[in-house]
Structure formats: C-alpha cells, structure tokens
Subunit: 402 residues, 2 copies
C-alpha cells in the first residue's frame, strides 16, 4: 500500500510531537486516539473498537504499534514503521472480563525498560477508557503519568500543503454529495432515501478520487426535528412546507470538509425566511474578517455583534478546527470558535464555521469550511450560501424510487 | 416521534437493570454507553461524541438524561422520560481544556442528594474516558464507585420478540446490500465503488423499512489485503483473480445483522478453493450443534474439532453476541464464542458467527448471524454459504460507472 504522505512528512510530525513531549516532560507517549495514530504512523483500519496504541519513546527513532494480533498485518501494510515494531496481543484479551489489553501493553513497556519513566496518556479520548488507565497504573507502578490530551492534536492544527490538497478533494466530494442529496428531497421521499443518495456520492467519490467514510454520518432532521442538531435520518417522508437540515462531510483519506445547508420543501415558513438573511450576513461578516493574527474568540465576537443587531443570541460554539479524524467526531478537539478561545489564526489552519441556530420548533444551519490564508479565508466548497428552496411541483417521489 | 418499543418494554428493561444494580450494591448507575442509553430510554442521536449520560437511581421511577444543552430537544423527542428529567450543560463545557461536563454532572448529582451513594460506572466503555472518571471522583469525594461494565449489556443479551423482528428487517437489508455489493465487483471497479453500492442499499433499506447506519462501515479488503480483517475500502481497482472480502451489516433502528462473504473475481486461487469447504463445513457443524443449554465455549470446541481434521487452527474468537449498538462496534461486549466462555445459550440470544481465517497473504470470511431457538439455530439471512465467484467475462467496469 502506498502511504498518503511522504516519509519525510511523517518524520517532521514525529519531531514536532517529540518537541512537545520534551516541553511537557513526557518521555513515553501512549497514543490511543486513532487520528493521532494515523497522523504519526499512517495506520488506517477500523480496529479502534479494541484497545490499541502507538508508543512514541523520546529517545527512539521509531514508534511501536501495539494492538490485536489479527490487526498486525494491517499495521504492517498501512504504516511506515518497521515490522519488528508491530506487536500483537492474543485474542483472549479482547472484550474479556478477566484479561485486559493494557496488562499486556504494560508488560511490553516494562520489558523494553520504559516502565519507570514519565508516561503521557490521552486522558479525554474515546479510546482510552477509565479501565484502560486503571490497568496501566496498576501494572506500571513506577511510571509517572501525565495528561497528554490533545498533545498531538496541537501539532495537527496547521495543515501541510498535501493535507490541504486532500481537503480540496474532500470538498469536491462534499459538493457532489450535497447536490445529489438536495436533488433527492421531495414530497413523499423519505429521510433515509436522501441519506442513501448522499452516502453513495460520499463513498464513491469522483472518478479521480475515491471517497472515504466520514467520521459522523449525514445528519438529516426534517420538520420539527430541525429544532435539534444531532438527529440522524429516519423513515419519515417529507411533507410540503418541511424544512430539512443536511449536514455532511466529504472525506478523502480521513480528511474531512463538512458542509451544512437548510432546504425547504416548497414555500419556506416565515420564520425561516426571516432568519436566513441574518445567518448569511453573520457568516459572511465572520469570513470577511478572518486574517492571520486574529483569535478564535475574536471571530466569535464578529458573529455576536452581527446577529445582535437583529436581537438574536447563540448559546453554542460557532465552529471548530477540522481535518483528519475517525468516528465519532470529525472535529479536531483543538480550537473552538467561541468566546474566550485564544487560539491565534495562522495560515493553513482549517475550520468548520457552522453558525447553527436551533429554536423550539425549527432550526437553521448554513456552514462553510475554510482555510486561513496569508491574508484572509479561502472556502473549500462552492455551494450557494442561502436557504435552498425545492419546488414541489417539479419533483415527485416516483422519479426517485429505484 | 414514535418510540420503537412499547413503554412497558422500557419499564421491563429498567426493572431488570435495577435488579442487577441491587445484586451489585449499586444505588446510582451512570450509563455512558450509547446503546445502553438507547436501550433504557429510547435516546437516539449522534451526540455521543460529547459527554452525556443516563442516570438510573435505584429508588426513583424515572432515569435522568444529562447532556449538552443543544441536544436536550433531541432527548425530549426520542425518549419516554419526562421533559423535567432532561438536563443540559452549557456549551462552554464542550471539548474545553478548562471545564469538563463531568464537573457539571457531579454537581447535579450532589444537588439531588446522590453524591454520597454507591455509584456504578461503565469503566471500559468508549464514552467513559479516563478523564471523565477522574473528574467524577474529584467532584464526588463521598461517593463509592463500583465497576458496572456490561451491567446493562447483560440485560440486553436475550432479545424480545420486537427486537427479533427489528433484526429480521435488518437481515432483509443485509441481504440486499450483499447482493448489490457483490454484483458491483468487477475487473477495474474500485473498492470504493462497491462500498458505495453497499451503503446505498444499507441506508435506503426497503420500501417498507428504511435502513439505519451500521456501527461499523462495510469492510472491504481485496487482493493481498484480505490477509487482514479490518481494512476499509480504498481506491484500489479489482484485478482478475483477486479475492475480495465483504463484511457488512444491515441495520434497522440500531439493531444489526452482520453478514460476511468472500468473492473471487474470476477463477479463485487454489488456496481459496481448498480452504473454502473447510470453513463452510466448520460453520455448518457449529450451526447444527447449537441448542439451549450449550455454552459459547462448547460452540468453539465444535469448530476447533471440525477444522483440526484439516490441520487448521484459528487464533481469534469465532463470534460474539450482537444486536443493538452504536459506533465503533456492533458487537454487544457480552458473550464471545471462544474457548472458556461459559455463557449458556438461551432462546432469543443472537450471535454473529464469523469463522474468519487470515493467513500471510490471503484470508477468508463466510459468516452467519443466528438466533438461538427452543431447539437449535435460526439464520437471519438467506445467502449462499460459499465462496462467491464472479465471472469476469460477464462484467465490465463501464457498465458500473454512473
């Protein structure tokens, strides 16, 4: 298998990671976040549902991959690290009430003389459970544990040109998925029918670039369910006058470009008609203010002032840094666009700006993913920044049944 | 929104959960596994990428849902619990280096007089991080924490008739996804093209039943990558003579029926031809041995003896209990079909029996999902139990480009 990045890029990433380890006094870093594992080693497989990790040792040139034995072939195939640094634990450790993979991993660390060092762990990561930490502490009594949450994520926040190129490919896929998804929305069509169209486009990709699975499924609430942002599709059939929120991401080699739009099946409600220009104005105000040196908190302030003129407030964050990830989230867990976030914008940072508003019985999402350039913001996708109105006379469900 | 189960079924589930709590001396159970949250409350949304939980208090009739404020509408819409038991935390708790949702949740628990009780937590669950546990312990110094891993999962292991009905619908979706996926495999077709066809079918479902997203994406290694089980699709184009492993699940209202087959593009290799009847015989030997009262360990023994005749050994487990779940796993994390597992089979237990074999440069998977009946095993899907051979003369990639 061909690595998605030049070997030198992986070496640079590892170097930057070790620099941060040194700053934090970490000698051995146990990486359990699959995106961080991928970022440093190339490892790419749906094996994160069992315990596994990449071990970065400050004074060793190569990381170790430790995971389930049956996944070791995958680690050899998808990473740049030497085969002898790929270690598998026997299958009886998997989802057992007796054995735990961290017991095995702790033994390996002791055997290679790392059991009494300063060990960094990603404390608030889906793939480092409370039990994993307890077992490590129990079996490595002489190690000093330090929180390394988001240590590697912090290295990831500025993208390389190759990463930006992958996001541009993801953007082509996002556009095409949005176009076909919106086209499929019609009276009597079901949410699941539209989700199927979107998935087909997302996964097939283009003739040049195959699509990858996004870390979040397309979110597709319709009708009153647009009042809540994270409902997935159901069998509900669209009615005339429904609003439908479509939030999706194109994904290429695990790099995401999210895109959200709100669609009206026929004549939009008065509420939607009056809120739309406020959201679009706020979105454009933020985008035109972006420049290196500004903070994420200042971006939020631009938005807040823009919507305040219309008597609107937003409780939740306005967006987040985005790029490489695995389920259950495509957000990077670094910078958030919200009050008080002091992250300073730099060229090749990438954000999903999603000023969603959710009220008691309806909601709206119109979003953009952008790159910070030397002078401003560059959008990844080209899709009308507006409420999308589907003419119910021109569409019928019978066209769509396949 | 209509609940997928009768309210009485939710009450039964809660009662069985409280019985187990009592046996373990747990007074307050903090449920963070999204499948367990769904099982007891109906909650269904892609919001598990932020901290959230269902709180079951032994002497209170209703659970509490505590999560992100913007998801509270979703909790009100999808659950049977009263609106006043749905509590949201402000957005500044989300993915922050300063605030943690468990601080908020601990305060709520203290306010309602639960801060000094025996508190059960799901220690080895993706959605209960090491940090979540540390914060809870810090803010609830008078609570006694107990491991409640798989407590609710244990209740889930025997399915109700309604759950079985949902799995039957998932099975129709799995069959159709496998048929269309296999049909799309051709010389020059890409792995991503086949994955797109599968996804389309899985999500669209049938005219009667819309599909839901499976908790694992279709796994689709081809060529030498069949030697490793968890690689996802790539842009690789199929070549004549390739083997392709297709592992997928139909999903309906979060209930899964997995199905795996191995496909040969044209004439299969001699290796594949000779291993296939051994796997099929072993699979059928196990299926015909299944009956209530047998243990999971005994199922594995039947398989081991069957393949031993041919000089084959399998290192990894043979299958697992399956049903309701959320990413990243469709397995239930209760019984495994492997040596030493003492789970006793009972009617309406459901398993994915997947005797996959992976060698240095190829592999094979032919699986079945079955229900334990009063007397034996009933398969969910009807699909030939064999190596599927695609005739490369009858198929061309140009037919498939849409």
């Amino acid at each position: 298998m061909v690595l998605p990045f030049d070997i030198l890029e992986y070496h640079e990433r590892l170097k930057a990671t070790k620099q941060r380890m040194e700053e934090k006094g970490i000698e051995v870093l146990l990486i359990t976040d699959p995106a961080n594992m991928n970022y440093l080693s190339g490892y790419d497989a749906w094996s994160f549902y069992v315990h596994q990790m990449l071990v970065v040792i400050i004074d060793e040139p190569q990381p170790l991959w430790i995971g389930r034995f049956q996944d070791t072939n995958g680690a050899k195939v998808t990473t740049w690290i030497y085969d002898e640094n790929v270690i598998g634990y026997p299958d009886y450790y998997v989802q057992s009430a007796v054995y735990h993979p961290m017991d095995f991993i702790a033994d390996i660390l002791k055997q290679i003389g790392q059991g009494n060092r300063n060990v960094g762990v990603e404390m608030d990561n889906y793939y480092f459970s409370a039990m994993a930490y307890e077992r490590l502490k129990q079996h490595l009594p002489n190690a000093a544990f330090k929180d390394a949450s988001a240590l590697v994520n912090g290295v990831r926040i500025i993208k390389s040109d190759q990463e930006i190129e992958y996001m541009r490919r993801a953007a082509r896929i996002a556009e095409q998925a949005m176009v076909k998804g919106v086209e499929s929305i019609c009276i009597g069509g079901r949410e699941c029918d539209t989700a199927a169209e979107i998935y087909y486009q997302m996964v097939k990709g283009t003739p040049e670039y195959g699509g990858d699975y996004p870390s979040i499924v397309p979110l597709l609430p319709s009708g009153e369910n647009t009042s809540t942002p994270h409902l997935t599709w159901t069998e509900r059939a669209f009615l005339e006058g429904d609003a439908v929120i479509v939030e999706l991401a194109g994904c290429y080699k695990r790099y995401h470009v999210p895109l959200a739009r709100t669609v009206s099946v026929g004549q939009p409600s008065e509420q939607l008609q009056s809120i739309t220009p406020i959201v679009v104005e706020g979105l454009q105000d933020v985008l035109s203010s972006v420049k290196p040196g500004m903070t994420c908190g200042e971006m939020e302030e631009v938005w807040r002032n823009s919507i305040k003129k219309h008597g609107i407030e937003k409780e939740s964050r306005l967006g987040y840094s985005v790029g490489l990830n695995y389920p259950p989230d495509w957000g990077e867990h670094t910078a958030s666009i919200r009050m008080g976030d002091s992250t300073v914008l730099q060229p090749n940072m990438t954000f999903h700006l999603i000023p969603g508003l959710w009220f008691d019985n309806y909601g709206i999402e119109i979003s953009e993913t952008f790159r910070v350039t030397e002078t401003g913001a560059e959008l990844f996708t080209q899709y009308p920044q507006d409420l999308i109105v589907r003419d119910p006379l021109n569409i019928s469900p019978s066209d769509k049944i396949s």
